[in-house]
């Protein structure tokens, strides 16, 4: 069975490079991201919830989390036990589609 962890990251958001570095941290350990949800405040404080799982079975989950915890801009990482993900929903009226450089209403 694939191992999964749900984590909460408290961080400082300066630009999307934060997400890039977090994703790269898990990529380097051959881990996958199941879902993620981020909320950034005007003052830069930011909470990120995400699921990471070890499809490669290299056993890097613990190491990846503790390594992430020492990255500049990360205040701390919490591993959430018994966490349940309620599917994120969004409502909208209309969309504009971008497909390989072509825009359509």
């Amino acid at each position: 069975m694939t191992q999964e962890r749900i984590i909460k990251i408290e961080a400082y958001y300066r630009d999307p490079g934060l997400v890039e570095r977090i994703a790269a941290n898990f990529r380097r350990f051959w881990l996958d991201i199941g879902w993620m949800h981020m909320e950034a405040e005007e003052n830069g404080t930011c909470s990120i919830y995400m699921s990471i799982y070890d499809r490669s079975k290299l056993g890097n989950l613990d190491l990846s989390i503790i390594t992430l915890s020492k990255m500049v801009d990360i205040d701390f990482v919490e591993e959430l036990e018994g966490a349940r993900y309620n599917k994120f929903e969004i409502e909208y009226n209309k969309s504009k589609k971008y497909e390989w450089g072509v825009v359509s209403e």
Binding site: D15, E20, R28, D62, L63, I66, S69, K70, V72, D73
Partner: protein, 572 residues
């Protein structure tokens, strides 16, 4: 005041006096703003011949001085060229600050001329990289960058400043007095229980050994390590970069252990019943097989700044996170109240047996060519005690690992984590700029030397009198020996032709050049180079069949060490 002036002033507030770099369109405002500082001698700019070399020079400067080395590069190829130098510094925990110029803010993301997504390129190879978004942020991020680079586990930081931010004007400047970051330097936690547990384990152990790494260098903890070793009568081994922490003539130092380390050092580590790692991670280059180490059932203890290292490879039985110097002082205090440790004659005898046994293999006699161990012995005789040696990467680096006797802390630098060929010459230049009072030697191989050798031009132009001793065997010797020994002699893609003539190459830059035909020549030319005080290249021909020994088979265990040339005999 322009942003570029503010950049210069901010750097000077951080104590920057030397800057390695190459100008281009996007860092030109910075250059324009430090002309007066360069003219007055307040700032020295060293114009390198490739940005990779600028990064290595800043790295060498940092390792030699203990202060961040600084470089500048322009956007695009300037930035991509420093990547190898940045990751080299990152792997070896060296504080480097790179100030890069970027395209104008409104040009970003549009495939503008020389646009390179500096952050995207830099994130994976640095401790941190930041884009300065407004002119007000310049002093803040320069201060932050130096703090991040030099605290915790040191490492490289990139500060990317768009050209238009450099060109903007500002009236009221607020220089920050402190940093304001979501970043913490690692804490030193003195846990008295753990100190006591370590002390008791050390007192009880019959065959203890200390494994010393780079953390000891950065914590300036050499004295404490030697006191602990003396108190316990305990041998010391090191990682390859940890060589720089321990004087080679310390009687209880056995040498650097690991893949190409001294066999006796690896055996002492294997046979010990307790190993205390100080400022050393259990890397795959030092412990080539974690299972082999675990099978020894020894007690592992670790003192390390970065607590995440306790989660890698081998989990220590007792660990303390923090500054090695502080924690060793606590340990020494605790030990001192326990009384002297009883001398363990059997362990000492065993260590001497191992030294004697392996010495018969490590000093082979001449067979027509000069031998690396004797080359390094000649260098040792000719160089002052506090000389700094850098190396390239290849066989010569491994020969230096086993045979170079550095006698002072911070006097041996090599690209050990990344294994970057071409590190030797520019890092030597950086070390010399930072420590002009020291004799600095780049001990190199021809393959590695040629990767950044064009920077000899800078050494001559800028009067940076380093001595490059180049072992010339016209081959990529370390790859060749693996092909020879472990790939059925299928030697391919490693042997060079006769070009260039290293002597003429060096002379074409205006450096002095000598060819050594024997060990006396090496000593004489080194002494001449020191006396003349000019950049000098000494070519030392070596046999391309020469091996870097000891070695292991690929993926091998330390106990599978090969100490003699298997092509000549079967004696391992």
């Amino acid at each position: 005041m322009k942003g570029s002036e503010l950049l210069v002033k901010s750097m000077k507030r951080e104590g920057v006096k030397d800057l390695f770099g190459i100008p281009g369109l996007y860092n030109m405002p910075l250059y324009d703003s430090f002309i007066e500082d360069v003219e007055s001698g307040e700032l020295r700019h060293i114009l390198m011949r490739h940005e990779q070399a600028a990064a290595h020079a800043a790295d060498g400067y940092a390792r030699a001085t203990g202060r961040p080395g600084v470089l500048t590069a322009t956007a695009g190829p300037g930035v991509t060229n420093i990547v190898t130098g940045l990751i080299t510094a990152y792997q070896d925990s060296s504080p480097v600050v790179a100030i890069t110029g970027a395209v104008n803010r409104n040009a970003m993301g549009k495939l503008s001329f020389q646009e390179s997504d500096t952050l995207g390129v830099s994130f994976p190879v640095t401790k941190y990289a930041v884009e300065v978004k407004t002119i007000e942020e310049i002093p803040v991020w320069v201060k932050n960058a130096f703090y991040i680079a030099s605290t915790g586990r040191p490492g490289p930081v990139v500060v990317d400043v768009p050209r238009d931010v450099q060109m903007e004007d500002i009236e009221n400047v607020n220089y920050p007095e402190t940093t304001n970051l979501h970043y913490r330097s690692f804490q030193t936690v003195v846990d008295k229980d753990k100190v006591r547990q370590m002390a008791l384990n050390l007192m009880k152990a019959e065959k203890p050994v200390l494994l010393v790494g780079t953390g000891v260098v950065w914590a300036n903890a050499t004295d404490e390590v030697l006191k602990l070793s003396e108190f316990l009568g305990c041998p010391v081994v090191s990682t390859l970069p940890g060589k720089s922490a321990i004087p080679a003539d310390y009687p209880l130092y056995v040498g650097a252990m690991g893949y190409y380390g001294r066999a006796e050092a690896s055996m002492v580590a294997l046979e010990s019943d307790l190993l205390l790692a100080i400022g050393a991670r259990f890397s795959d280059r030092t412990f080539t097989s974690y299972d082999e180490m675990k099978d020894t059932k020894k007690i592992f203890m670790s003192i390390n700044l970065d607590p995440t290292d306790f989660s890698k490879g081998i989990k220590p039985d007792v660990s303390m996170a923090g500054n090695a110097r502080v924690l060793l002082q606590e340990l020494l205090n605790d030990l001192s109240v326990m009384g002297r440790k009883k001398a363990n004659y059997a362990w000492n005898r065993r260590i001497n047996e191992l030294k004697d046994y392996y010495s018969q293999y490590s000093h082979p006699p001449d067979d027509g060519y000069m031998r690396p161990w004797q080359i390094l012995k000649a260098l040792r005789e000719a160089l002052p005690r506090d000389a700094i040696m850098t190396t390239g990467v290849g066989q010569h680096q491994m020969w230096a690992e086993t045979h170079w006797e550095n006698l002072e802390p911070r006097s041996f630098f090599s690209s050990t984590g990344m294994g970057t060929m071409g590190f030797g010459l520019p890092s030597a230049m950086g070390a010399k700029v930072g420590r002009p009072d020291k004799v600095v030697v780049d001990y190199d191989g021809d393959g590695s030397f040629m990767m950044t050798g064009n920077n000899l031009a800078t050494a001559v132009d800028e009067h940076i009198p380093v001595i490059a001793v180049v072992n010339d065997n016209r081959t990529l010797g370390l790859v060749r020996q693996v092909q020879d020994m472990f790939q059925n002699k299928r030697i391919v893609g490693v042997d060079y032709g006769n070009s260039p003539n290293i002597m003429k190459y060096a002379e074409s830059f205006g450096a002095d050049a000598f060819e050594a035909h024997n060990y006396s020549d090496i000593m004489e030319y080194v002494r001449t180079a020191i006396r003349e005080n000019v950049p000098t290249v000494i070519r030392v021909p070596v046999d391309k069949e020469e091996l870097a020994l000891p070695t292991l088979p690929p993926g091998g265990k330390l106990s599978e060490v090969i100490v003699s040339d298997p092509r000549k005999n079967n004696k391992n």
